[in-house]
């Protein structure tokens, strides 16, 4: 089957998502949504590992929420919380995204070419073979990766921008890791998180992810691969245990 296009101009999101769902159910693999502008929940709860949904325009919030399998490619910026509680699949954003990107994400990948807002990767968690990955080409705002219970957040800070320039990075992190180019200022580090230099071995381990990312967006790979990185990891598996006592 070839591609199917939907002109989403002025289409209410319920109608649009119903049509996408129906196309997926009928076996379509390549669905292109043109003139998307603010429609929420695109790809919400959709299954199908071999389905690709291309979004031309600016989608509304909760893109690919609860999604389990498909690939969503956005040519434009994304709004609030793309990849929210996403289970599996891939979201590729050729642009920037709003706050709470990859919130509570539990599997699959979210790639954002440019920047993300506040609270990116918050509450991400991994389990067994599922390890969510969020890669940001530009920078992230404050509260990145708070409460992370697993998964991987990488912020590349390409073109020389500071990867993170806000406070509370990794507050309450008790699993997974946040990798940033260079080092973040220790005043930006959240409670329960510690920063370490990324070793060559560790860098090697993430190389396939970085390769995929630069290929996806046709970014010059050299500065990415040659840069130094730090990782922000849990100081303990139980970050808040010391706050409480029993009656």
């Amino acid at each position: 089957m070839g591609e199917v296009r939907i002109n989403a101009k002025d289409m209410p999101y319920q109608v649009l998502n119903q049509r996408v769902r129906a196309l997926v159910a009928s076996g379509e693999k390549d669905i292109i949504l043109d003139n998307v502008l603010g429609q929420r929940f695109i790809g919400d709860g959709i299954r199908g590992d071999d389905v690709t949904i291309t979004v031309n325009g600016v989608p509304g919030g909760d893109l690919a929420m609860f999604m389990s399998g498909p690939t969503v490619i956005v040519h434009g910026n994304a709004d609030h919380a793309p990849g929210n509680t996403m289970d599996n699949g891939k979201v590729v954003i050729h642009g920037s995204a709003g706050d709470a990107v990859a919130h509570s994400m539990r599997g699959g990948r979210v790639y954002v070419r440019d920047n993300i807002g506040y609270r990116g990767g918050i509450n991400m968690k991994e389990y067994q073979t599922k390890r969510p990955i969020l890669v940001v080409g530009g920078s992230a705002r404050a509260f990145l990766g708070e409460y992370m219970a697993g998964g991987l957040v990488i912020v590349l800070g390409t073109d020389g921008v500071a990867p993170v320039s806000g406070r509370g990075v990794g507050s309450g992190i008790h699993g997974g890791e946040i990798i940033v180019r260079g080092r973040i200022d220790n005043t930006c580090l959240g409670g329960g998180a510690e920063q370490k230099k990324l070793t060559e071995d560790e860098k090697k381990a993430i190389r396939p992810i970085l390769e995929d990312f630069v290929r996806t967006f046709t970014i010059d790979p050299d500065p990415v691969f040659s840069a130094e990185y730090s990782k922000i990891v849990p100081a303990s598996k139980r970050p808040f245990a010391s706050k409480y006592t029993w009656e």
Partner: protein
């Protein structure tokens, strides 16, 4: 430490005349009170939490547990609890965690409300022979119907109804997660719910696969930690509940300590074994009512608008306005959890001091929704401190559609409200994940007990309704004329919209 020992909370005694040395107390106590030594049984009273497991299984009634055998100098302000919390924090410098619901002696509004009965001017209805309808539908209702009257006399319904849960009694079992309670306890509860024709909440712990056969009677919860939430989980539930808050700890999140996250719990919560399960205070994708609407709709889109979505809030000062906002978010029911709601572990300061009673919260929510003409938009589910059928009847009169019970259902399985759920060594196999303790709780036997409890309440509700001359529960709902306040102050009677006794 200069504080030294504090007086015993309980003194355990064995009447040696009666004791036959069967050692069942030693086997049953999971807190290490009893120890075999030589020919006798040694007692370490300081370990006792008064869970009464030993007492329940002593074949000779030889055990006696005395509460506060020695006490501090009595003082109306500096209670024992106040002094001990100070000792605790002086030693640790930490937040004090406690179990169960509010433990301060605030007056209970339920106990100051009296129900009505018919005499002469209207007849009571005999529930033994007349139909008594307790069936309740939870979900959004249309505020009016579009009916077409056809030429042939038929009436055609043109209004599309939203999905509703049908319950045969207005009593549901609230959300207690696998993790907070054992899988055997959850299994017993959901078996009871399915047999009675009602529903039970999963809590924020995901849905264990052994419960899949009962999924049509389960309401799956989506809380701030999003544990165990994926599209399969959402599709399995009969309804979805967004938990914003809990009466036992309004405004804060919850932590399941990593040592309770065993292999099985790690599966249902979808987190690694031994990892803390941290539910943040807010949902980090909800920072305003419009974001709540977005999550409500996100869940509905994900499940193709086939499932009712509930929103649970803790009863707080401004519940009425909050509930009105929730009603307009597209949610199908709002759960109002009063300040007596239970919890396995909650900061004592929140448990005892934050939130308001469910009676006042439900009354004001119902009134506000009516005032705004949107009462049909949502059902109201009340929870937090519902102890008996009379409480159910009273809260329905105040405007609730149904209740969630938690602690009552646990008591039906043997819980003695000892309040030490957070220890994880519940001798009754309820609030524990220790396999040998969990095995004590037979799901089938306990399912029958919970079923009996709800059945008994249902019979009593039918009797109370019959006495009030009402044969359908919708005529009790919001019918505050059938309540009178006894020793309630005028301000509270205004909020509850009830008259005083004698008026």
């Amino acid at each position: 430490m200069s504080i030294g020992s504090t007086p015993l909370k309980y003194r355990v005694k064995i009447d040696t005349e009666r004791c036959m040395q069967c050692k069942r107390c030693i086997e049953n106590c999971s807190y290490g009170v009893f120890r075999e030594e030589g020919d006798g049984i040694q007692i370490q009273s300081r370990n006792c939490v008064a869970c009464h497991r030993c007492l329940a299984f002593c074949p000779r009634d030889a055990i006696e547990i005395e509460e506060k055998p020695g006490d501090y100098r009595s003082h109306p302000v500096w209670t024992r609890e106040a002094r001990e919390a100070i000792f605790n924090q002086a030693k640790t410098g930490k937040i004090v965690l406690a179990g169960m619901g509010n433990a301060l002696p605030y007056p209970i509004i339920f106990d100051r409300l009296l129900l009505d009965a018919c005499q002469v001017t209207n007849p009571s209805i005999d529930p033994l022979r007349e139909p008594m309808e307790l069936r309740t539908y939870i979900g959004k209702k249309p505020s009016s119907l579009d009916l077409r009257h056809l030429e042939n006399g038929d009436v055609q319904l043109c209004t599309k109804l939203s999905p509703n849960l049908q319950i045969e009694t207005p009593v549901m079992i609230g959300h207690m997660s696998y993790g907070a309670i054992s899988l055997n306890a959850q299994t017993a509860l959901v078996k009871a719910a399915s047999r009675i024709g009602t529903f039970m909440g999963t809590g924020e712990g995901g849905l264990h696969e052994s419960l899949y056969p009962y999924q049509d009677h389960m309401i799956v919860q989506v809380a701030s930690g999003r544990f165990g939430v994926d599209i399969n989980y959402l599709e399995r539930g009969a309804a979805i509940e967004i938990k914003i808050g809990q009466g036992a700890k309004p405004g804060i999140g919850g932590h399941l300590p990593g040592d309770k996250v065993c292999a099985d719990i790690s599966c249902t919560r979808m987190i690694p074994e031994g990892s803390d399960a941290i539910s943040p205070a807010p949902h980090h994708d909800i920072y305003s009512i419009e974001d709540l609407k977005q999550l409500v709709r996100g869940l509905k889109e994900a499940t193709e608008w086939k499932k009712p979505v509930f929103v649970k809030i803790a009863a707080v000062h401004n519940s009425a306005a909050i509930a009105a906002g929730i009603a307009r978010s597209g949610a199908d029911a709002v759960v109002v959890d009063g300040f007596r709601g239970g919890s396995g572990a909650t900061p004592r300061v929140f448990r005892d001091h934050v939130g308001i009673p469910v009676e006042a919260a439900v009354a004001s929510v119902d009134a506000k929704l009516r005032q705004q003409g949107i009462r049909n938009e949502v059902s109201i589910i009340a929870s937090g401190g519902i102890r008996e059928s009379a409480d159910v009847a009273k809260i329905i009169c105040l405007g609730a559609d149904a209740v969630y019970i938690g602690t009552s259902a646990l008591i039906a399985m043997g819980c003695r409200v000892c309040g030490t759920c957070y220890r994880g060594t519940c001798a009754w196999g309820i609030a524990t994940q220790k396999p040998e303790l969990v095995a004590r709780l037979d799901p089938e036997v306990n399912a029958v007990q919970v079923e009996n409890l709800i059945h008994g309440w249902t019979l009593e509700l039918a009797e109370l309704m019959g006495a009030a001359g009402i044969n359908s529960i919708e005529s009790l709902r919001g019918n505050r004329d059938r309540l009178r306040g006894y020793m309630l102050d005028e301000g509270l009677m205004n909020v509850l919209d009830v008259k005083t006794v004698g008026a």
